[in-house]
């Protein structure tokens, strides 16, 4: 597999691995049957009661999957860390792939999954905090495993 150096770096030394015990939101994407599974945990720092301005204070993930899946999760976690929820909701798979200096075409779905799993975690947080209105606008994971 021709992975970029960035991918190999994030694969070999993934950032933000782990779980958060009392997470504000948890999101999972993928399915071991398909060979890829990612779970993200987030702690959210609220701001002015406006969920859009709230920030990701802490982020952790676990991944079962190929090199790209692990690198994508690691990179996505770094990118989301400290960002507002709106910013993260606006993130696309291409942003992650781009930050990784590209991914092989067959691996672009991993890139998607990383962003979607974090968005699932935000959705979970918004739902728990009563903001179904915003939560329902987030697409998240096509067939999320909860």
């Amino acid at each position: 597999m021709q992975y970029s150096e960035k991918v190999m770096d994030h694969f070999m030394n993934p950032r933000n691995v782990g779980e958060i015990e009392k997470a504000d939101g948890v999101g999972t994407c993928g399915n071991p049957v398909c060979g890829d599974l990612m779970t993200f945990y987030i702690k959210v720092e609220p701001r002015n009661h406006d969920p859009h301005l709230a920030r990701i204070a802490e982020i952790r993930f676990k991944t079962f999957g190929c090199g790209a899946a692990i690198a994508v999760a690691s990179m996505a976690s770094e990118m989301a860390q400290g960002k507002t929820l709106s910013e993260v909701i606006a993130m696309s798979r291409d942003d992650v792939a781009c930050q990784l200096d590209g991914l092989p075409p067959a691996k672009m779905h991993c890139s998607n999954m990383g962003v979607q799993a974090i968005q699932e975690a935000i959705k979970d947080y918004l739902t728990k905090t009563g903001r179904h209105d915003i939560a329902s606008t987030i697409k998240g994971c096509p067939r999320a495993v909860h």
Binding site: M12, P32, C66
Partner: protein, 389 residues
């Protein structure tokens, strides 16, 4: 790359390095004895002799007549000639029977033939990857043209009961072909004793060159060429012969014939050492393939909670080359059709690892894997959402 260690190559079922003796046999045919074997001058005739010597060596390995050997560009081509060639050379029988765990080089030509009115019947295998003879018996009838069952499987190494299968095929007047790409040169193949009508082999799987293979076709069997256009290979495979490749293939056959028994034992010893070491150090793994009816160099197992490609990448960082049946290694969505046909759940199929040993592996190679793999599995399990200590 770490500490500049030398590469440990444990992917010999994928391809093998050319044996230095094979390379020396090939070398003169690139630039010195470079004639076209069809030419009548000495430069051509010297090349012709190299081919005929290789043919004799290949025939000797299989126990057949020299004129029953056709040189091809590899195992895939030999499989294609067999399947499309026998099918299209007749219009009586329309059913081709193959095991569910055949290589794509057998299955895909069968699928292509559908548009010409042929039917592919896949025979299931048991949990060890052994073909179910009852199902085979049921599938056979007088519409069955060809039964194609590989001698041993490339992913899990399971060796099939070829003699029984060929007997069944012949009882119904079907031809029997075996894809012996993984066995030729590694374990004995005797086309007479085993009742084989056609057989495919490939040089690069047993220390010969890539791009050279052979087809054995019993005298009298009718098949169309796949590549038309000249009198080469007794009208069955056109194109200027790959003289160095063929000479190398012949040499690989000769070496194999003489060293096979000893080599097989040595490799089996290494493989068993590897499996013991791994079993002692990693929990929740399971062997894939037949416990003993299995190629001596093949060790395929599944590691629970971890995906195959990520293990391969970490092994590669330690300069260890191996393989996996994970979908992620092939760019497809489904993991290995072989593992699935053996009844493995998807997650175990995604988590498979294959070490395939060969002529140039040493104990030190094995010990290095035993040293390195457990911590790789630990690292990946530590980040796996499926793993709970």
């Amino acid at each position: 790359m770490k500490n500049g260690a030398r590469q440990i190559y444990l992917d010999n079922n994928a391809t093998t390095p050319v044996d230095p003796r094979v390379f020396e046999t090939m070398r003169p045919y690139f630039s010195e004895i470079a004639g076209n074997p069809s030419s009548i001058h000495s430069a051509g005739q010297q090349a012709r002799r190299a081919i005929e010597e290789a043919r004799a060596r290949t025939a000797a390995l299989l126990g057949c007549r020299v004129e029953e050997i056709y040189f091809t560009s590899g195992g895939t081509e030999s499989n294609n000639i067999t399947i499309k060639g026998t099918a299209l050379a007749q219009d009586k029988r329309k059913k081709i029977i193959a095991s569910a765990i055949e290589h794509h080089a057998v299955l895909e030509p069968c699928i292509y033939l559908r548009r010409f009115g042929f039917e592919l019947v896949k025979i299931p295998v048991d949990q060890h990857g052994t073909v179910d003879l009852d199902s085979l018996g049921r599938a056979l009838d007088d519409n069955a043209l060809l039964v194609s069952v590989m001698h041993a499987n490339n992913e899990v190494g399971t060796i099939q009961p070829i003699q029984e299968i060929s007997k069944l095929a012949h009882q119904h007047g079907a031809l029997f072909h075996t894809d012996a790409v993984q066995t030729a040169g590694k374990i004995p193949v005797d086309v007479q004793a085993m009742g084989i009508d056609m057989l495919s082999l490939s040089g690069h799987k047993f220390y010969g060159p890539k791009g050279a293979g052979a087809l054995f076709a019993r005298r009298g069997i009718r098949f169309d060429p796949l590549v038309h256009g000249g009198h080469h290979e007794r009208n069955k495979r056109a194109g200027t012969e790959n003289v160095p490749g063929i000479a190398g293939l012949g040499k690989a056959c000769e070496i194999a014939a003489s060293d096979m028994a000893e080599e097989e034992l040595r490799i089996r010893g290494l493989r068993d050492r590897l499996w013991q070491g791994i079993q002692g150090a990693i929990t929740e793994i399971r062997l894939n393939g037949h416990p003993d009816q299995r190629l001596s160099g093949t060790l395929n197992f599944s590691v629970r909670y971890v995906e195959g490609e990520s293990m391969l990448l970490k092994l590669d960082q330690e300069q260890i080359c191996a393989s996996s049946g994970s979908a992620c290694t092939s760019g497809s969505l489904e993991p290995s059709h072989v593992l699935l046909a053996m009844g493995l759940p998807h997650d175990l199929a995604h988590g498979s690892l294959r070490f395939s040993l060969g002529r140039f592996n040493t104990e030190a190679d094995i010990d290095r894997v035993i040293e390195v793999l457990p911590s790789i599995v630990d690292q990946l399990r530590a980040i796996s959402p499926l793993y709970k200590k």
